[in-house]
C-alpha cells in the first residue's frame, strides 16, 4: 500500500472514533503543554538574564585586580615577605604593560578616580553638583535619546541622566542632544585639606540621555564620559598628587572573537585576580537551566503517563476492527501494511496531542504583558518566548513516542489471522 493511502485511512479511522482520539490526544497535550511552557519560560528567562547582564556589564570586559594571595596557603603572610605592589593590592603602569601583552587583550583602561567640582549649562548659569563617572566598558545603557556607537561615549562627549535635564535647562531629552555643558575640574592642592589653586572648565557635548531601568541593578546618577577624557582629567588632577598612576582595578578588553575564558586564565596565570561577567552569566544560566528542565521533567512524566493511554486506545481499536483487518489481509494487504496503518494512527494521535498542547502553550503568551506587570519587570519584557523549531521537534518527538507506544497494538493487528478475523459466528 502507498504511504499516502495508509495515512489517509489512518486519519479516517481516527475521525470515526472522535471522542476516543480526542481524549487520548488531550492526555498527550498535557505533557506537550508543560514541556513547551517550561522551555518557553526558560528561553524567556535566559533572554531576560541576557539583557540584565548586558545592561550591567560587558561580557568582553575583564576586571583585573592585584592578586592578594600568594602561594598555597590562605593564611596571612609574614610582614615583609611579599613584593611591594602585591602587598598593597595596587596595580601600576608596569602591570598595565604586562597585562597589555597578554594575547587577546585589545584595550586596557584603569579605573581612574576623578571628580568634578560642579557642572553648568553655560558660563554664568546655575552650578550643580556633578558626580563624574568614566564609561570604560561596553555595557549597554538604556537611553531616552541620542545614540552611542558600541555603547561607548565619544571623546569630548557626555551621557547625561534624564533627571539632570530640567536643572540644566533642557526642555526634553531630544532637545539636549548635541548641546554642550560645562564641567568644572579642580586640581587638588598639594597640602591635604588645602584650598585648590588651579582649575579648568571642560566643555562636553551631550551624546545621549540615559534613564533608570529595572534591568540595571545598580544605577548611578552621574555624568558619564569617555575613557580618554577621564584619563586627561585624571592626569590633570593627579599631576602633583602622591600615588600617581596607581590603580585598584584596570579594565582589560578582550578582542572580539577571542575566547574570554582563555584570556581570563592567561591574565590570571600572569599573577592577577580577574573577574568577568561570564562567571556571573554562567551561574545564572545554570540556575535557569535547572528550573527549566525541572519543569520540563514534569511534562515528560505526563507524556510518559499518556503513553499508556495510547497503548490502551490502540489495543481497543485493534479489537474493534478485527474484521477490517481480516478483510484487508484477505484482499492481499501485507502484514507490514496493517502494522503501518495502526502505527500511523498512533502517529496522528501524537501529532494531534503535540499540536493541541503547543497551541495552548503559545496561547498563554497572551498573558506576557500581565506576567511582566505582576513581576515588575522592564516593560516589553517577554518572559514566555516560543521557538517554532523547538515546537516542531517536540511534535515530531511526540509522534515518534506515539508510534513506539503503538508498536505492540500494531504488531497484534499485523499478526491477526485473517481466517479467524473473518469467521462469521
Amino acid at each position: 500500500m502507498k504511504t499516502r493511502d495508509i495515512v489517509v485511512r489512518a486519519g479516517r479511522s481516527l475521525r470515526q472514533a472522535k471522542a476516543r482520539t480526542l481524549l487520548t490526544s488531550l492526555a498527550i497535550s498535557v505533557g506537550a503543554f508543560t514541556v513547551t511552557l517550561a522551555l518557553a519560560a526558560g528561553a524567556g528567562g535566559q533572554a531576560y538574564t541576557n539583557s540584565l547582564i548586558k545592561n550591567n556589564g560587558d561580557a568582553n570586559n575583564l576586571a583585573v585586580l592585584a592578586k592578594i594571595d600568594t602561594g598555597e596557603s590562605d593564611a596571612p603572610k609574614e610582614y615583609g615577605t611579599a613584593s611591594e605592589s602585591k602587598k598593597q593590592g595596587i596595580l601600576t603602569d608596569k602591570d598595565i604593560e604586562k597585562i597589555k601583552k597578554v594575547d587577546g587583550v585589545t584595550d586596557i583602561t584603569p579605573e581612574y578616580n576623578i571628580n568634578a567640582a560642579y557642572m553648568m549649562r553655560s558660563e554664568g548659569s546655575k552650578k550643580y553638583e556633578a558626580p563624574l563617572s568614566i564609561k570604560t566598558d561596553r555595557t549597554a545603557i538604556p537611553l531616552t535619546a541620542g545614540s552611542l556607537e558600541n555603547n561607548m561615549v565619544p571623546v569630548g562627549g557626555v551621557i547625561v541622566p534624564e533627571d539632570y535635564l530640567e536643572a540644566l535647562g533642557f526642555t526634553s531629552a531630544g532637545d539636549a542632544i548635541g548641546k554642550t555643558i560645562i564641567v568644572h575640574i579642580e586640581k587638588p592642592s598639594m597640602m591635604i585639606g588645602g584650598k585648590s589653586t588651579e582649575s579648568q572648565d571642560k566643555a562636553l557635548k551631550i551624546a545621549a540621555v540615559d534613564k533608570k531601568s529595572t534591568t540595571v541593578l545598580r544605577y548611578q546618577t552621574a555624568l558619564r564620559i569617555s575613557a580618554e577624557d577621564g584619563k586627561a582629567i585624571y592626569e590633570y588632577q593627579s599631576s602633583n598628587a602622591p600615588g600617581n598612576n596607581q590603580y585598584y582595578t584596570v579594565n582589560a578588553r578582550v578582542a572580539e572573537g577571542k575566547d574570554v575564558k582563555a584570556v581570563q586564565s592567561a591574565i590570571e596565570s600572569a599573577g592577577y585576580s580577574v573577574f568577568s561577567l561570564q562567571d556571573i552569566q554562567e551561574t545564572l544560566f545554570q540556575f535557569i537551566n535547572i528550573v527549566q528542565w525541572g519543569a520540563a521533567g514534569f511534562g515528560f512524566l505526563a507524556i510518559l503517563a499518556s503513553i499508556f493511554g495510547i497503548i490502551n486506545t490502540q489495543y481497543i481499536s485493534v479489537l474493534e476492527r478485527t474484521q477490517q483487518i481480516g478483510l484487508m489481509k484477505a484482499l492481499g494487504a501485507r502484514r507490514k501494511d496493517v502494522g503501518r496503518l495502526f502505527r500511523y494512527e498512533a502517529a496522528w494521535v501524537g501529532f494531534l496531542g503535540g499540536a493541541i498542547g503547543t497551541i495552548l502553550a503559545v496561547a498563554t503568551s497572551l498573558f506576557n504583558p500581565a506576567i511582566t506587570k505582576s513581576l515588575n519587570l522592564e516593560e516589553g519584557t517577554k518572559l514566555l518566548q516560543f521557538d517554532p523549531i523547538t515546537s516542531i521537534v517536540l511534535i515530531a518527538g511526540l509522534m515518534f513516542v506515539a508510534v513506539m507506544a503503538g508498536y505492540f497494538p500494531a504488531r497484534k493487528a499485523a499478526k491477526l489471522d485473517p481466517i479467524e478475523a473473518l469467521r462469521t459466528e
Binding site: 500500500m1 478483510l327 484487508m328 484477505a330 492481499g332 494487504a333 481466517i419
Partner: protein, 230 residues
C-alpha cells in the same frame, strides 16, 4: 486453470487432531463457475481458504496458472491475492463508516494502483452493480442487498481472475439473493472470470457449471466437470 492436488489439512494437536481436508484433488478450468457444496463443518470453507492462500495445508499442491501457490512466500501470496483474487462474504464485511467509494477503493489501494487510475475503475465497478448514485453514501445507510452489491463492486474493481464467494446469498432474501446471483454469473460469463461459490444451497450450486460435493473433508462427487470444459 486451478489444479488442487492431494490437499490435506489437520486442525489441532495429536489427540484431538481433526482432519478438515483429506487428500482432496480436482481441477477447475479457467472461466468456469464452480460450486463447492457441503454441510457446515464439511471442510468447504477450509478448502476455499487453502485455494486462496489464506491457509496453508500440510500436504498437497495448489497450482494456479502453473505455479504452486503453497510454495510461494507470504509476500508473493499477498501480492497474488491483491492482483488475481477477490472475495465475497456471507456477512458482506463492508466498512459501515466509510462511503461506498472508499469501500471500493480499498482493494486498489492494497494492490498499489496509481491514484490517477482509481476513479475510473471505482466508478465502473459501482456502475456495474448499479450503486453509482450511492457513491458518496455511507455503507451503513445501505440495505442488505445493496451492501452485498457493494461487496461485489469491491470484489471486481481490480479485475480479478478468480472470484471466491462464501455463501454470497446466505444473509439475503430470495429476491435480493437472486439479483446478487445474477450479478455474479453475469460477471463470470462476460469477463471469463473463474467463479468459485462456497455454499450449502443446492439450488445455487446447480446454477454453476460444476459442483464439487464435500463431506467430512473428502470429495464425495464432482458433477458437470466435462460440461465446463466444453
Amino acid at each position: 486453470m486451478i489444479e488442487v492436488k492431494s490437499i490435506t489439512k489437520t486442525y489441532g494437536k495429536k489427540h484431538n487432531a481433526f482432519l478438515a481436508l483429506d487428500d482432496v484433488s480436482f481441477s477447475i478450468p479457467e472461466g468456469a463457475s464452480v460450486a463447492i457444496l457441503g454441510k457446515s463443518g464439511s471442510g468447504k470453507s477450509t478448502l476455499m481458504h487453502a485455494m486462496s492462500g489464506l491457509d496453508r495445508p500440510e500436504l498437497g499442491e495448489i497450482i494456479i496458472d502453473g505455479k504452486d501457490i503453497l510454495k510461494l512466500k507470504t509476500k508473493q501470496i499477498d501480492n497474488f491475492r491483491a492482483h488475481q483474487m477477490s472475495f465475497i462474504f456471507q456477512s458482506f464485511f463492508v466498512q459501515a463508516n466509510e462511503s461506498c467509494y472508499d469501500n471500493v477503493s480499498l482493494p486498489l489501494e492494497i494492490a498499489g494502483v496509481p491514484i490517477g487510475q482509481r476513479r475510473r475503475k471505482i466508478e465502473a465497478a459501482l456502475e456495474a452493480v448499479e450503486l453509482i448514485d450511492k457513491k458518496k453514501s455511507r455503507a451503513r445507510d445501505l440495505s442488505g442487498g445493496q451492501r452485498q452489491r457493494l461487496a461485489i463492486a469491491r470484489a471486481i474493481v481490480n479485475d480479478p481472475k478468480i472470484l471466491f464467494a462464501d455463501e454470497p446469498t446466505g444473509n439475503l432474501d430470495s429476491v435480493t439473493g437472486g439479483v446478487v446471483e445474477d450479478l455474479l454469473f453475469r460477471y463470470n460469463k462476460d469477463r471469463g472470470v473463474t467463479l468459485i461459490i462456497v455454499t450449502h444451497d443446492a439450488d445455487l450450486a446447480n446454477k454453476c457449471d460444476m459442483q464439487i460435493n464435500i463431506k467430512d473433508g473428502k470429495i464425495e462427487s464432482i458433477t458437470g466437470q466435462k460440461g465446463a470444459n466444453s
